[in-house]
């Protein structure tokens, strides 16, 4: 019992006040401030990796794997420019001294100095942009996941100069002999052909269900990988298209409905195709059928994106782990020999080579 009296009352009040302040102070003092990793940006040859981040979370980022140091530097765009890159950076191309990063859910393209990665300009006002391809000295096309038009970009003013209505959404894009081949991916089965000189659709080619990725081989034949659609109601297929006649020259059907190949790539010679299906698969352009064997089997979670070094055919794949935490960049030699594994950002996706010759 606290006896009555003002001193004791004051004592009780002060005791509890001190207890409160002390507990708040101690609790605060117990918290350890976590360090933010600093970026270690290294110039030189290597692979730029776009980490998509989570949809609507704005945690997309840019990483760089350096051949010189055999290290990866993460979150470079933020480190160099003190701004987040945006929501879901999807693809990247390099033209001369500039790098263009297509940021899908931010509806923009960030233009950077390709050596320093310093921000130069922003091309905005795009509807769900996905991929970009250069079609002339100062012109590029940008595909769109949601709109029925391909945007025309003026690379001198870094602005949208017009649109080409293709009446369907678009995904991957490949340019050959002033013609742009645009894949209608989600729910589609066509390749639209745009004349890059007049910016008009001049042809269309019917292919398998959901053409996801495309490459050109050494003979200027267009290879289209159709993943069959997510509902697995159609067989995936790999189609070879003549860019002279704009017709399908050869079809390779996958044997099961469960096969869902993605990320078609080709080596620098235009001779060997690579794609992902339960790992990395390799196929010569003259092969009679799709490969049964896996060059690099998956190690744990499914691989997400693939890239082939155009000079030495080194193989890089990304592993997003659980799509929430930071994923991995995996480096293999051309024969599939594992070299190293590096921690990248959240959902490491498209890759772009910046090489010194």
């Amino acid at each position: 019992m606290v006896p009555p009296g003002s001193l004791n009352q004051l004592y009780l009040l002060m005791k509890n006040l001190i207890l409160f302040l002390l507990s708040a102070f101690i609790l605060q003092a117990c918290t350890k401030d976590l360090e933010i990793p600093s970026a270690d940006f290294i110039l030189g040859g290597g692979v730029l990796v776009l980490n998509e981040g989570n949809f609507n979370s704005g945690n997309g980022s840019l990483s760089f794997f350096s051949y010189d140091s055999m290290k990866i530097s993460n979150d470079l765009y933020y480190s160099v420019n003190s701004k987040p890159l945006g929501d879901v950076p999807n693809s990247m191309i390099i033209k001369e001294d500039k790098a263009y990063i297509v940021v899908n859910n931010s509806g923009k393209i960030e233009v950077l100095d390709q050596s320093t990665l310093e921000h130069r300009s922003t091309i905005s006002g795009l509807i769900s942009p996905r991929y970009m391809a250069i079609v002339g000295s100062n012109k590029a096309y940008v595909t769109s996941l949601y709109s029925d038009s391909v945007a025309i970009i003026n690379l001198l003013s870094n602005s949208v100069s017009g649109y080409i209505n293709i009446r369907r959404t678009s995904e991957s894009i490949v340019v050959c002999n002033n013609k742009a081949y645009v894949a209608n991916w989600v729910g589609g089965h066509e390749i639209m052909v745009i004349d890059g000189l007049v910016d008009k659709v001049v042809d269309s080619i019917s292919v398998g269900m959901e053409p996801e990725s495309m490459v050109l081989d050494r003979y200027q034949a267009l290879w289209v990988l159709c993943n069959g659609g997510w509902a697995r109601e159609n067989y995936a297929e790999l189609d070879r298209i003549s860019t002279i006649t704009n017709t399908v020259a050869k079809q390779y059907k996958f044997s099961t409905l469960e096969a869902s190949p993605t990320s078609l790539c080709i080596d620098g010679f235009g001779q060997t195709l690579y794609y992902l299906e339960n790992g990395v698969r390799q196929m010569d352009i003259n092969a009679e059928k799709i490969p049964a064997s896996i060059l690099i089997p998956e190690s744990g979670s499914p691989y997400y994106k693939l890239a082939i070094n155009p000079v030495n055919s080194d193989i890089f794949v990304t592993d997003p782990v659980d799509y929430v935490q930071d994923g991995y960049l995996l480096y293999h030699k051309n024969d599939g020999t594992f070299v190293a594994k590096f921690r990248a950002g959240v959902i490491p996706g498209s890759m772009c080579f910046r090489l010194r010759f």
Partner: protein, 621 residues
């Protein structure tokens, strides 16, 4: 004839429902007092909780979706109830607090951790119970308030009570429209930071509650209906500025409830039947998303509480819930029936020792779950004074939401329930130091281990699926101090609180270790609030300060939202003459114009002002 004495006794029971939940020994609960509710009457309960309690609220901006989390748990682990009936959308398994206006309730009680178990299933983090009830002391009451504020904000609240000695009708109507076109600093999209105006952010909200109460000998029968409609444009993230998305959300809810509450000498019981219909339509024109969702949730709940000896009470609760969902996001209509039986023993061993033991069995979709339990102990340290030590241990289960089970693609009908083990201990005291000075203090420590947490992960065919793989441990301390000083016509009240919360991922069932030990995203380690209220005659003023520490926005804790410190002021004058009172209140929120976000890249408003005028006419019985 009903005596005056009986009338008062029953009224208190109905309003506070103390026998069923909030006053059980050993648990931590908190009631928001009526003066706070009045100041926030035309704002959503998200604001009142964020600024007055140590609860973390995440908001997509003024009028945007807002959810509350307790003690480092997820939004789905917070249950929001209306007189003990779940208000959460059964599809999402959580509640949008921005849709509930504070003035539509008569009271808000917050249940921390295990304290939610006597009230509701699944409140792993805690529960918020919104109460509405009769006031038998009033013969009639009409209260009309109108408010206006910055950013095109207009609102009006009407409350009308008409009562006889045995019957009462209570009506509440609220309407609000807001442009929410506040200015914010955009330092993301351009080369230099620029001030922008938030657009496509309009909210229109209407709400009506009609309640009837019929009092009999020892009993009250009630019928309640609550309709609300919210139509809002959804602004995009600062990083998502695509033309033509035109995102909209339309929420409509119709809630009805009938109950019969009998209070006897040695036992009382409450029978409640409720039906809640939620309609949620979401449109994104750019992405061609037209999501149509309709849910019907029916609940029958029976509580019985009886005295089995002089100092012990035994309670039983049986609850049956049926959820039926019609949506274009499932393969077909889905339904789920869940039933729970709860037994509770509230014992008082001596004047200073009391305890609660609770056991609950849940049957979900014809499967019995491992039983939940809770045990709480309360020691009164001094015989005639309010010094307490409280401790509790519990296991609490949360069933998967209907989207987790049936969303197409990716829903997993084989999901198990999430469960947690909660350990909690607290010291509290309340003392009138002098006749004019009162003090109360509380310090609580807790640990919460959540297992089989549901996470959506990429599956075999390129779409995400739900699975029970998450493991989260959260622990922390909460402390609060209140001082009340009254001398003559001057009243001063200081309330303060601080919470330390660590919530960490553990190595999950897929063996991923990278995130282990990292603080969960959007959970502030430090949160504190202070409210100082001064009253002098008819004048009143309240200053609130709320500090929220930095919150990580990436799982590896490499990025975070900076801490923010928000100060608000409410002040006014109340004029009373006989049965009439008129109140004029001016509010300034975010006085120092702090730029902050609670969800990354969704800006919140800087300084804004509100003006409220309230006219109230009361006639006592």
């Amino acid at each position: 004839m009903i005596s005056q004495k009986d009338t008062i006794r029953i009224g208190e029971v109905i309003i506070q429902r103390s026998k069923y939940s909030s006053d059980l020994p050993g648990y931590k609960t908190e009631r928001l007092d009526s003066s706070i509710l009045e100041s926030y009457s035309q704002l959503s309960i998200a604001e009142v909780l964020e600024e007055n309690l140590n609860i973390s609220v995440r908001s997509y901006g003024m009028g945007g979706t807002a959810t509350a989390t307790f003690r480092g748990t997820a939004a789905g682990h917070t249950k929001v109830e209306w007189n003990g009936i779940d208000l959460g959308n059964p599809m999402l398994g959580q509640s949008d607090l921005s849709l509930i206006t504070t003035g539509m309730t008569d009271g808000i009680t917050v249940y921390y951790g295990s304290a939610s178990m006597p009230l509701v299933n699944g409140g792993i983090g805690g529960a918020i119970n919104l109460t509405t009830g009769p006031d038998w002391e009033q013969r009639s009451k009409i209260s009309v308030s109108t408010g206006t504020g910055s950013f095109g904000h207009y609102s009006g609240l009407l409350k009308f009570i008409k009562s006889t000695r045995t019957f009462q009708s209570s009506t509440k109507v609220f309407t609000q429209t807001s442009e929410n076109d506040f200015r914010y600093l955009d330092d993301y999209t351009g080369p230099e930071p620029v001030w922008q105006t938030r657009t496509h952010n309009q909210v229109n909200h209407k709400s009506l509650i009609q309640e009837f109460y019929l009092k009999g000998p020892g009993s009250v029968t009630s019928a309640r209906i609550w309709y609300q409609l919210t139509d809002r444009n959804l602004p995009s993230s600062l990083l998502t500025q695509q033309p033509g998305s035109d995102e909209k959300q339309y929420d409509e809810a119709l809630r009805s409830m009938i109950s019969y509450h009998f209070t006897g000498d040695r036992s009382d019981y409450l029978i409640t039947g409720a039906w809640v219909r939620n309609r949620l339509n979401y449109t994104n024109r750019l992405a061609s998303v037209h999501s149509r969702n309709l849910s019907d949730a029916s609940t029958v709940k029976m509580n019985w509480f009886g005295t089995i000896s002089g100092s012990s009470r035994l309670g039983f609760t049986i609850e049956d819930d049926l959820d039926i969902i019609h949506t274009n996001n499932y393969r077909s209509a889905a339904r789920r029936n869940k039933m729970s039986m709860t037994a509770l023993l509230d014992s008082k061993f001596s004047p200073s020792v009391s305890s609660v033991i609770l056991i609950r069995e849940i049957m979900d979709r014809d499967r019995f779950l491992v039983p939940d339990f809770s045990t709480a102990l309360e020691l009164k340290l001094l015989p005639s004074r309010d010094y307490f030590i409280k401790a509790s241990i519990s296991k609490n289960s949360k069933l998967p939401g209907m989207n987790d089970l049936y969303w197409y693609p990716g829903g997993n009908p084989d999901l198990k329930n999430e469960y947690s083990f909660n350990y909690e201990m607290s010291y509290s005291m309340k003392e009138n130091i002098t006749p004019i000075l009162g003090l109360s203090y509380e310090l609580t420590g807790y640990r919460n281990n959540i297992r089989d947490m549901i996470q959506w992960l990429p599956g075999e065919f390129s779409y995400w699926t739900a699975d029970n793989i998450g493991k989260v441990n959260s622990y922390g301390l909460e402390t609060s101090l209140s001082l009340r000083y009254v001398i003559g016509s001057i009243s001063t009240e200081l309330k303060s609180g601080y919470a330390l919360t660590r919530a960490e991922n553990k190595v999950n069932d897929q063996g991923e270790e990278f995130m282990a030990g990292k603080q969960l995203i959007y959970i502030p380690v430090n949160k504190a609030n202070v409210a100082l209220k001064l009253t002098y005659d008819n004048l009143f003023a309240t200053w609130t300060s709320c500090f929220t520490g930095k919150r990580y926005i990436t799982s590896d804790n490499s990025r975070y939202l900076p801490e923010y410190f928000i100060n608000n002021f409410y002040g006014g004058i109340r004029y009373r003459r006989k049965n009439i009172s008129v109140l004029t209140e001016l509010g300034v929120d975010n006085i120092f114009n702090v730029y902050y976000q609670t969800i990354a890249y969704y800006p919140l408003p800087g300084r804004f002002c509100t003006l409220k005028i309230l006219l109230q006419i009361v006639k006592k019985q």
